[in-house]
């Protein structure tokens, strides 16, 4: 029986893969979105900055910031769930991923945002749920909140086209 790997090795492999996935997208850096990982679960975190305001009189976050945050969370959540499977199954080289050879992100087909309340000038959090992830299409739901997890301020629903995977036949 093989001894399990030391926990630091496992954590470092997963954290490096996630960091490489996120670092590959300039727009995520522009917004300043970060990801917190607990096992395979991701929580996106958007620290508040003045640039994110859309209505200076209220003030409230720009609707486009909320939309972008939801879409980024959905795409990274979906890409991460398939990258996680590939990493854990040993189908992909962790060193290559950590060095930036990350699989292409899924593409958004359509995206619906439901604005439940104004985004306050403070940090936002979001989690994505992959409801269906097939070979070609995926459906992801995403929920964003601020101070109170039980009071989301925006919901999103995203349909994606999955990137072609190595080994996929032309047919």
């Amino acid at each position: 029986m093989k001894r399990p790997e030391p926990v630091q090795v496992v954590k470092s492999r997963r954290d490096s893969a996630l960091a490489a996935l996120v670092a590959a997208v300039p727009y995520i850096q522009f917004l300043g979105i970060r990801f917190d990982r607990r096992g395979d679960e991701l929580t996106a975190w958007l620290p508040y900055s003045e640039m994110l305001i859309g209505n200076p009189t209220l003030p409230a976050l720009h609707g486009g910031v909320t939309a972008s945050f939801l879409e980024v969370t959905a795409l990274i959540g979906l890409a991460w769930s398939s990258l996680w499977d590939d990493l854990e199954a040993g189908r992909i080289d962790p060193a290559g991923v950590a060095a930036g050879q990350v699989p292409p992100l899924p593409k958004t087909i359509d995206f619906t945002v439901d604005y439940l309340r104004a985004g306050l000038p403070r940090d936002c959090y979001a989690r994505a749920t992959v409801n269906r992830s097939g070979r070609r299409f995926a459906s992801v739901q995403v929920e964003a909140w601020q101070d109170n997890r039980a009071r989301p301020f925006a919901l999103g629903s995203v349909h994606c086209l999955m990137p072609e995977r190595a080994g996929d036949g032309a047919a």
Partner: protein, 144 residues
């Protein structure tokens, strides 16, 4: 009309996130607004191709939609997005600016309905199309 366009331009420029994305209002009519956003390396979603992230395009379309509501003859005092659905038809061509044209085609006492299209230089093939519902705040005492 020039004055209204100038005021509206300044209004868009005063929104920090719209300014950060370099959005510029180029046309304004009754219930219609056109806003342009230049291509910027910081807004890219896929560095391998240089294609803009969908989120940046959503932000542009949301802003143009809100502006079309504000310019509606019903003269709302403010608006907020209730929901927005965007279909992404094709990747935006890297290096080209994106122009969103929004039309507020119907309003009720408290809701405005908007259609919005985003194009790059090839205006015959839109990059994205959207539909949205917006809140519509009227001045107190205004007749609907």
């Amino acid at each position: 009309m020039t004055d209204i366009l100038t005021i509206a331009r300044q209004f868009i420029q005063a929104l920090p996130y719209s300014r950060a994305l370099g959005m510029e209002l180029t046309e304004l009519g009754p219930g219609r607004a056109t806003i342009t956003m230049p291509w910027d390396a910081r807004l890219v979603g896929d560095p391998a191709t240089g294609v803009l992230h969908g989120g940046a395009i959503s932000a542009l379309m949301d802003t143009a939609s809100g502006a079309s509501v504000m310019s509606h003859p019903a003269a709302p005092t403010s608006t907020a997005t209730l929901d927005l659905r965007i279909d992404y038809m094709r990747p935006a061509t890297p290096g080209q600016s994106i122009t969103a044209r929004a039309e507020c085609h119907h309003v009720t006492r408290s809701v405005a309905f908007v259609r919005v299209t985003a194009c790059d230089d090839d205006t015959a093939r839109p990059v994205a199309m959207g539909t949205g519902a917006f809140t519509l705040e009227r001045a107190k005492g205004a007749t609907p």
